[in-house]
Structure formats: structure tokens, C-alpha cells
């Protein structure tokens, strides 16, 4: 059995010099998904707090760093349960490994966070429905359930650069 769970979380995008981004992984206030040498996506409970703290962290190294609340730009869904990896294998060529990976999932670019017991997919909000529908179609026969309502996502693993 697999559950396709809609999730929500706050996101802050930080675009700055790589040396500045390096500093983001130190604090304990949130989890930074490093998507490029000069870009990190910080997952947090409170975007406002992260905006403030990340700006303070980045500014000494890169005063021109861009820190933006991008929460609305992201869709997050999780595949939970024993068959999660089987469902995932039908929609993505990405190799699952602890931590984060980037690649195509359901035909769209996504960040894949493999956590104990679940696979979390982060991708552009404009594809929220399309990816959900693709997973349900390609995973047909694998017993996918959709529980009600979004759950809050607090990343279990810290994805260090």
C-alpha cells in the first residue's frame, strides 16, 4: 500500500555566492536543500524567520544575495508506505539514495528527498495536478491511496552540500 500525501512547507530561495550558500547549512533553524552551487532552497516552518536569518547569514559574504519567500512556487507531495519506491520507479529514472537528488519525476524537473519511510517530491506548483495525475495513472495497480488534507513537511534529513 502506498499513500500519495499532499504536503505543505514554507520555502525560501537563496541565490548567492557559493561561499555564502555554504554558511546556510550550519544553522539549525531549517533544512537547506542545495539545488546548485549558488542556490539553496530552505525548507522551514516559518518563512519570515528564515528570510531574516538567511539574509543575515549571507550578507557578510555576499551583500547582493537574493533571499525570497518562494513558498507559493512549490508543490510538495510525499509517497509513503512499503510500495513507495515501486511507484516512484514508474515515474522517474532518478536513483533513490538518502539525501536529495534532482531529476525528472512524472515528466517535470523535481527535487527528490528520500527520507526514512517516504519519498518527498518538490516541484513547481504549476505542475501540482499534472504530476499527481501522472503518478496515479502510472502507479495504477499498486494500490495508491490519497489521504485527506495536506500535512506539514518538516524534512527529516538534512541535505548537506
Amino acid at each position: 500500500m502506498v499513500e500519495l500525501v499532499p504536503m505543505h512547507a514554507s520555502f525560501v530561495t537563496c541565490a548567492a555566492d557559493p561561499a555564502a550558500i555554504d554558511r546556510l547549512v550550519e544553522p539549525a533553524f531549517a533544512v537547506a536543500l542545495r539545488v546548485a552551487p549558488d542556490e539553496a532552497l530552505v525548507v522551514a516552518d516559518d518563512a519570515a524567520e528564515v528570510l531574516r536569518e538567511a539574509s543575515d547569514l549571507l550578507a557578510p559574504v555576499d551583500p547582493d544575495a537574493v533571499v525570497l519567500d518562494t513558498t507559493d512556487g512549490w508543490a510538495v507531495i510525499a509517497l509513503e508506505g512499503d510500495g513507495a519506491a515501486d511507484v516512484f520507479a514508474r515515474v522517474s529514472q532518478v536513483r533513490l539514495a538518502p539525501g536529495i537528488a534532482q531529476g525528472e519525476v512524472g515528466g517535470v524537473p523535481a527535487i527528490v528527498v528520500a527520507e526514512p519511510g517516504r519519498i518527498v517530491l518538490v516541484f513547481s506548483a504549476m505542475w501540482r495536478e499534472a504530476v499527481r495525475e501522472r503518478i496515479l495513472a502510472d502507479g495504477a495497480g499498486l494500490g495508491i491511496l490519497e489521504p485527506d488534507g495536506p500535512r506539514r513537511w518538516t524534512p527529516a534529513t538534512e541535505a548537506r552540500p
Binding site: D17, V66, L68, D72, G106, G107, E129, D138
Partner: protein, 875 residues
């Protein structure tokens, strides 16, 4: 007893039978008709290598009947032949070889030109291949991805040994075989050993064994796609061991394709695994160690050949069991019409003819190495017979262990056993005989690659499994020099694969939606594709939507626009170096129209640039081009080594355009910020709060009225949309879709990139020269523009006023010549006539001012058609 439905009659089968065996038991000897000469073909290899037994199973053509297991109710019919395979009138072709020499279709039907299309249809129908199903109901096949350290193709002794060696070293291994383990092996200790090993290996936690999964190729990665019962398994492997074994050498002699001629492995399998005699009077030609073993097996199954030809030393027990042994005989010819009737042998005492209904030939093996050769340059190694044809069981096991242990166990492909006689079919799939090869060679096609293309040898369903080495050997021999034979390139698919399997995992464009999608549907919007987005075209009366913009107030979802934030020390410098627009000096709170050019000076995109202050800029560009624009900008940032931070905000920002003469009034009702013409003039922008939603309001003018493009956090879109509609209800506000927008922008003479442009349009051709600052520094496309500007325009996009109503795409003519094309047109309710855009070519250096679009006359007029001074826009 269970049965299959074979051409309308039930044919019983026994447990474990393949379709081919069931049919053979039922007396079927002709399985198919050959592609060109319509010769009868019967069971031959029984190892899945040749194309002699292809049938249509449950509507799927080209299925290897010797591979697929029979199942209750399966509908099977043979392919080719007219009216049937048994009574095939087209088989007259077998008497007309002289009329259809090799490559005849390249030389015949050339004149008159209509001859080939007609002949081609006939030829295609006459070929003995199956018919594709025409049902339009899609068959959904799944694709799944598997990641392993080692993929092994072939679960024989070599493959399983490789798998175990790697698994014991801790690697994750996947082993695939197109059959069940040991299925092709004869009963005995070898088969028992392979099955025991398979059980052992499959029991290891880090190994998965997939039976009935056929590897169809080796791709870069390496990736090995397997066609299985449910669809495709795409195996991503660190390395690959190919242990596909060897195929029995295909002997070439006259009559080698007659039903009744068997390769030794096939005949032995028939007799032992299925208890079916290949014939009543069997002649055997055995020259390899393996073939002698098979002869022994045949003997023990009660098949006593009436003649055996061999040059090998036979073991005592085999020799004693044989009544007739011809030590110095040579196979010359097989005779018969419907099937084998006699075998002609050359002996020291002269030609001997033996009446026979089965000829079993075992001359040795050649590697089944196409997958191995596809893996050239990739971490792909061979093991077992595929690299050492004819090797012993123990040697194959050892070779497998070596390949499994060592990631660098590379192996060269050895073993040529071409057996070319006087004539005969070299490539049975494509009906190419040795004589055909000789003729093509004489015509000048003198390499294996070019001979292959001319004769189509090796290009049939078996993909050269039988004949690729013959072709290479033929060239080598014909050249008469001591050159090594050159094999043609191996390419996927290595085995026949269904089209729906190739389509597994392939989907249409992934649909993009804005946050307002549900609002559009609830309002009865006609929502359809626009590029990769789903967008509303209209909500009902689209003419009233148009009027709402021109006369009242209206909103449109423009969240699909590409949106970027450009920050960093060099943001302004980058934009100036990339776009022809002047960025330097653009004051915060102001915006400019932006063109994007490629190096050739051609327009690739357009949009707006907004100075945000503190050295930051916002950028918008066309809806379909966000990914391309982002990639293009990032490439420029890298190339110019600039300090720039680029964030693609397309998904995170929604955008609603509020437009119309009462638009400001609506906006002011929802905002405490000053949105008057002084605070927010045309091409100005400001951060304001609308209905509690933080927005960046931009005064832009695509529709030609006072407009506020409100960019906001995507999630607040529905709330803002509802609030605007509510606030403007008494003013007659309503949303408009793409249909109204098309007319609104056309009245203003604004272009749609892609629709109104051609790939080689520079800004002056489009009337956009004003958007290019040639007096600033370098930018992408500048050098090309300097050159092109010096030349007179030979083509230009113009405004057109029509007397009638042509369709988009109608050619424009002047002086009896086609001079252009209508790219946009529509009937303007405001102007009361049909207007459009189109491109025109200059005639003798002059652009015509009167043209015709089909039967409609048109006048070239100045753009814009509506509010040329822009008073309404700026208001």
C-alpha cells in the same frame, strides 16, 4: 486438454508448449511465407533467433511463436500469403527471380513518376509481414526503472556465474533472460546445474532474476531496456555483462530455407523437450562437438537418421547406433517444393540423393553478440559463449565468474563460422541469396555496410542474428585480400519489440496550470492548450469580453508569463550586454519593452524589464518561453562571468491584468495606495496592496487601455481574482480570455511571437526598430544588426485592412505573384472591419500597398489600428 485458436480451429497444447510446438504437433509445417519470394518457411532454429516462425498472436503481429508460451484461448494466425499462407498465389514470385533482382525497387518504377507510389503500395501489401492493429484504443504499458550495480543479460551458466560472483562481492545485481531459466537446455546435468545455480542466485538478497524479459538494446548509461510481460523495465546499471550465448551457424546451400531443414539445437529440443520427431526420414550433418551431442540426444529419443554426414570423430556409442555414416560427404543441396523431399550429398563415389523429410544441420556456433557490440565504449563485457563460441560448460562458468568479479573484464568478439555454399539464402528474413550478394557486388556495392543497405541483408526481424557474419565473410572473400571481415553496426532493437512497449512511459506534454485554473472552470471557461499551459479562451460571449476591456473593465489571468528576478552586482550590466534595450539609466519604478535577439540578430522573445531599485530588476517574457529564457540567461551569465543571481519566479508569482477605462476605479476601491496617473503612470510600476494582497502593479499596455498587471504570490491569486470581480461588479467587469485578447492586441498592432514572426525576423522587419538602442554598447546580435540595417528590407510585417474576411495563413498576392501571407486577422467590432497583420515581400524594391488575400482585397495601413496616439493607453 487446453487449446489455442489457430486460424479458426482449436489446436491443443501440452503444459510448457510454446505456440510453435503446439502448431508443429498439430501438423503445421509452413509457418510463414518469405517476404519477397513468398517461399514456405518452417521451424528452423527454435531458439528465438530466426524469423521463420513469426505469427500474429491476439492481434499482435511479428510474435516469435517459438518463444511465446501457448495459453488457453490464445488467437493465433499466420502472416503473409494471399489468400492464405498455405495457398499463396503470390508465390508465383518464387518463379520470377529474374524479374526481381536484388535492389529491383531502386531501379524499376522510376518513370512515370506515379509508377512508384502505386508499385510501393502493392509491394508493401505483397510482403509477407503481419498487419498492425488499427484499433485506436491505447494499450497502456508501464515502464519502471531499476538501478543496479550490475545487469546481466542471459541467465545461462555464464550469466548466472557472473551474477553470483558480483553478488558475493556485495553488488546489487539484476539478471534477465528472455526465457525461463534452462528452457533451451536439453535435459541433463548441465540443465540441472543451471537451474540449481539460478535458484541459489535468486535467493540472494541483492539479486533479482527476471525471466521472460527480453533485452532490446544497450544504451549509453549504460541502460538496458527489457521488454517484459507488463511493459518495459529500464535497467540503469553501473556495468553490464552480456551472456547471451551463441546462435547456431546458419548454413548456406541451395534449398537451405525449406521447411524440414532444422538447426541441430532446434531438432534436438523438439525431440527431447517436447517428444516431437522432426521428421520420419532424418538426415543429419554434424560437424561440431555440440552437434554430435545433439545427435546422441536424437538417437536416445528414438530418432535414427537415415544418413549422417560428418568429418568429426564420433564417439563409439554414437557411431554404433548409426546405420549410415558418410565420412567424406558434403552437403550440396536440399530439394523439395512444399517441404524437404531429398538431400543431395557429394561423396567420393559421386552425387548421392537421399530421400528425407528432415535435415538436421549442426556446424558450430557464432556469438549472439549484438548487445555486446552495442555496448562498445561502455562498461559492457561478455561472458560465456558470446565471447567463446563452442566453449565448454565449465569454461562458460569460469568466464562468467571472471566477468562478474572484475569490472574491467573486456572481451573481444571472436569466432567466425561462415558456411557459404554454392548458393542459398544468406538472409532468410529478407530473401537475400548468395547469388544476390554476388550480383550486388558486381554492381559495385563493395563493403558490408553498403551491401547491407542495397540488398537489405541483415535488416529483417532477426537483425542479422543469422546472417551478419555471412555478409562480412562474403565481403572479405569477394575482396580477395587478407582483410578481416567487418561486421555492420549493431543497433537496437536486438529482438522484435512491440510498438506499445517502445511507447511505455511516454506521455504527452505535462500540463501547466495557474492558480486560477479552478476559477476559469467554475466560470464556464473554455480551457484548452496554449503551448504547455491550459488557459481560458473565452467564458461565453467573447465579444462582450472584448467590449468589457474597451468600454468598462476586465481582468485576465496572465500568470503564465515568464517572470524572473535578476539580482547581483552586475545585474544591470548583464541585461545591457544581453538585450538591445537600454537598461542603464532606467529609473526604479520604471519599465521598458524588451526584445531578446539571438546572435544573428533575429527576434527570439520579447517582454518587459522593470527596475526595482538597489540594482535589481524584474523581467517578464512570453508564456511559452520561460525555460528557454532562463537557460539562455544563465548561459550568458556564465559566459560573461558576471556576478548575477537569477531566480525564475514564473511558478511562484501569479499575475492578473486589470484593464479598461474603469480599471483604475476598480483598483482604487481595493487599495489604499495611490494608483492615480501621477503615482502610477504608463510604464511605471509600484508595490501596492490590493484587497490585502501584496502586489507589484505594472502599467503596461498590450490591450491598449489603461492596464494594471498585478503580480502577486501565486496562492493569493483566487482571493485577488474574486475581489476584483466583486469590486467591479457595478461597473460591468468580467474576465476575458485569449480570444478577446487576440483581437485587442491586433487592434493595437502588437505581434504574437511565433505566430506573426518568422525565424529570421530582425526587429526592423517587424517594425520594432524603436526598441533597439544601437547607440549603446555591445549586446547579443548587435554585429549582425549593423550589417542587416545597411541592406534594404526585403520583407516586412505590415498592418492590413481587408475588404472581406480572409483566414489566417492566406497567401497575399500582388501583380499576380505571391508576395506574403496573412499571419493574424480578425473583425474588429470597434472599427467595424477586418484587420490583420501579414508579412510582405518587396517587389522590385518596393512594398506593394494593395494586395489580395485570396478573393479579398487588402490595403496596407499603418499600425496601430486603434488609438494610434496611445491616449487611452496612457490615460
Amino acid at each position: 486438454m487446453p487449446s489455442i485458436a489457430f486460424e479458426g480451429r482449436p489446436v491443443p497444447f501440452e503444459d510448457g508448449d510454446t505456440v510453435a510446438i503446439a502448431l508443429f504437433r498439430a501438423g503445421v509445417r509452413t509457418f510463414t511465407r518469405s517476404i519477397k519470394h513468398h517461399r514456405r518457411r518452417g521451424l528452423y532454429c527454435l531458439t528465438g533467433d530466426c524469423a521463420n516462425c513469426l505469427v500474429t498472436v491476439d492481434g499482435v503481429p511479428g510474435v516469435r511463436s517459438c518463444v511465446i508460451e501457448a495459453a488457453e484461448g490464445m488467437r493465433v494466425r499466420r502472416e503473409g500469403g494471399w489468400p492464405s499462407v498455405e495457398l499463396d498465389l503470390v508465390s508465383i514470385a518464387d518463379r520470377l527471380h529474374a524479374l526481381m533482382p536484388v535492389g529491383f525497387y531502386y531501379k524499376a518504377f522510376v518513370r512515370p513518376r506515379i509508377a512508384w507510389p502505386i508499385a510501393e503500395r502493392f509491394i508493401r501489401r505483397a510482403t509477407g509481414v503481419g498487419t498492425l492493429p488499427t484499433s485506436s484504443s491505447p494499450v497502456h504499458r508501464i515502464e519502471r526503472n531499476v538501478h543496479v550495480e550490475l545487469a546481466v543479460v542471459g541467465a545461462g551458466i555464464a550469466g548466472l556465474s557472473a551474477a553470483r560472483a558480483a553478488a558475493e562481492a556485495g553488488e546489487h545485481v539484476l539478471v534477465a533472460d528472455e526465457r525461463r531459466v534452462g528452457e533451451l537446455l536439453l535435459p541433463g546435468t548441465d540443465r540441472d546445474a543451471v537451474r540449481a545455480l539460478a535458484e541459489d542466485v535468486a535467493g540472494l538478497p541483492n539479486v533479482s532474476l527476471l525471466e521472460r524479459h527480453t533485452a532490446i538494446g544497450v544504451y549509453e548509461g549504460p541502460i538496458v531496456p527489457l521488454a517484459g510481460p507488463d511493459g518495459i523495465v529500464r535497467v540503469h546499471a553501473g556495468r553490464v555483462v552480456v551472456a547471451t550465448g551463441a546462435v547456431e551457424a546458419h548454413p548456406v546451400f541451395p534449398g537451405n530455407d525449406l521447411p524440414g531443414v532444422f538447426l541441430a539445437r532446434g531438432a534436438a529440443r523438439l525431440a527431447t523437450a517436447f517428444g516431437v520427431r522432426p521428421g520420419d526420414r532424418v538426415v543429419a550433418v554434424v560437424d561440431s562437438h555440440e552437434a554430435i551431442e545433439q545427435l546422441r540426444v536424437l538417437l536416445s529419443s528414438g530418432v535414427v537418421p537415415v544418413g549422417v554426414v560428418t568429418r568429426a570423430a564420433l564417439p563409439e556409442d554414437v557411431r554404433e547406433a548409426l546405420p549410415h555414416l558418410l565420412r567424406d560427404g558434403r552437403l550440396v543441396r536440399a530439394g523439395g517444393r512444399r517441404a524437404l523431399r531429398e538431400v543431395e550429398l557429394e561423396t567420393p563415389g559421386g552425387i548421392r540423393r537421399i530421400e528425407a523429410d528432415a535435415l538436421v544441420v549442426g556446424l558450430g556456433t557464432v556469438p549472439r553478440d549484438d548487445l555486446l557490440r552495442m555496448g562498445d565504449g561502455l562498461p559492457v563485457a561478455g561472458a560465456g559463449e558470446v565471447i567463446r563460441p563452442g566453449c565448454s560448460f565449465a569454461e562458460a562458468a569460469e568466464s562468467g565468474r571472471a566477468a562478474g568479479r572484475s569490472p574491467s573484464a573486456w572481451a573481444s568478439v571472436a569466432g567466425f563460422a561462415p558456411v557459404l555454399g554454392r548458393d542459398g539464402y544468406v538472409c532468410p528474413c529478407e530473401d537475400v541469396s548468395l547469388h544476390d550478394l554476388e550480383r550486388a557486388w558486381a554492381e559495385g556495392w563493395r563493403s558490408s555496410e553498403i551491401l547491407k543497405r542495397y540488398t537489405t541483408a541483415t535488416m529483417g526481424p532477426c537483425q542479422g542474428a543469422l546472417c551478419s557474419r555471412h555478409l562480412a565473410a562474403f565481403c572479405s572473400r569477394a575482396r580477395g585480400r587478407d582483410e578481416p571481415p567487418v561486421l555492420t553496426t549493431a543497433r537496437p532493437p536486438a529482438r522484435p519489440v512491440a510498438l506499445e512497449d517502445l511507447a511505455a512511459g511516454v506521455h504527452a506534454i505535462v500540463e501547466k496550470r495557474t492558480a486560477l485554473h479552478e476559477r476559469h472552470l467554475a466560470a464556464g471557461g473554455v480551457v484548452a492548450w496554449s503551448g504547455s499551459w491550459k488557459r481560458p479562451y473565452r467564458y461565453g460571449d467573447w465579444i462582450d469580453e472584448y467590449r468589457a476591456v474597451r468600454e468598462r473593465a476586465s481582468i485576465m489571468d496572465v500568470g503564465t508569463l515568464a517572470k524572473f528576478l535578476v539580482g547581483g552586482r552586475d545585474a544591470a550590466r548583464l541585461l545591457d550586454a544581453v538585450f538591445p534595450t537600454r537598461i542603464e539609466g532606467l529609473a526604479p519604478g520604471r519599465s521598458r519593452y524588451l526584445l531578446a535577439l539571438d546572435e544573428a540578430g533575429y527576434v527570439v522573445d520579447d517582454g518587459m524589464v522593470l527596475a526595482l531599485g538597489e540594482g535589481r530588476f524584474a523581467l517578464t517574457s512570453t508564456s511559452g518561453g520561460a525555460d528557454r529564457m532562463e537557460a539562455w540567461l544563465r548561459d550568458r551569465v556564465d559566459r560573461l562571468s558576471m556576478h548575477v543571481h537569477l531566480v525564475n519566479q514564473t511558478a511562484m508569482l501569479g499575475a492578473i491584468n486589470l484593464a479598461g477605462p474603469r480599471a483604475r476605479e476598480v483598483l482604487q476601491r481595493l487599495s489604499d495606495d495611490d494608483v492615480g496617473a501621477d503615482a502610477l503612470p504608463h510604464l511605471g510600476h509600484a508595490a501596492i496592496t490590493v484587497a490585502g494582497v501584496a502586489c507589484r502593479a505594472m502599467r503596461v499596455g498590450f490591450v491598449g487601455e489603461v492596464s494594471f498587471e498585478l503580480h502577486h504570490a501565486r496562492g493569493r491569486g483566487p482571493h485577488l481574482w474574486d475581489a476584483l470581480l466583486e469590486a467591479g461588479r457595478d461597473l460591468g467587469i468580467r474576465p476575458h480570455g485569449l480570444d478577446a485578447l487576440d483581437l485587442l492586441r491586433l487592434e493595437k498592432g502588437h505581434i504574437y511571437l511565433g505566430q506573426d514572426t518568422l525565424p529570421d525576423d530582425h526587429p526592423w522587419k517587424l517594425g520594432l526598430g524603436w526598441a533597439v538602442a544601437m547607440d549603446k554598447g555591445d549586446f547579443v546580435g548587435r554585429t549582425a544588426l549593423e550589417r542587416m540595417r545597411a541592406l534594404p528590407l526585403e520583407r516586412a510585417l505590415v498592418g492590413l485592412r481587408f475588404d472581406g474576411t480572409p483566414r489566417r495563413g492566406t497567401p497575399l498576392a500582388a501583380h499576380g505573384r505571391i508576395v506574403g501571407r496573412v499571419t493574424s486577422c480578425g473583425t474588429s467590432p470597434g472599427l467595424g472591419r477586418t484587420i490583420g497583420l501579414g508579412w510582405l515581400r518587396a517587389v522590385d524594391g518596393v512594398f506593394p500597398d494593395r494586395v489580395t488575400a485570396g478573393s479579398t482585397a487588402a490595403t496596407v495601413v499603418a499600425r496601430p489600428f486603434y488609438d494610434p496616439e496611445g491616449a487611452r493607453l496612457r490615460g
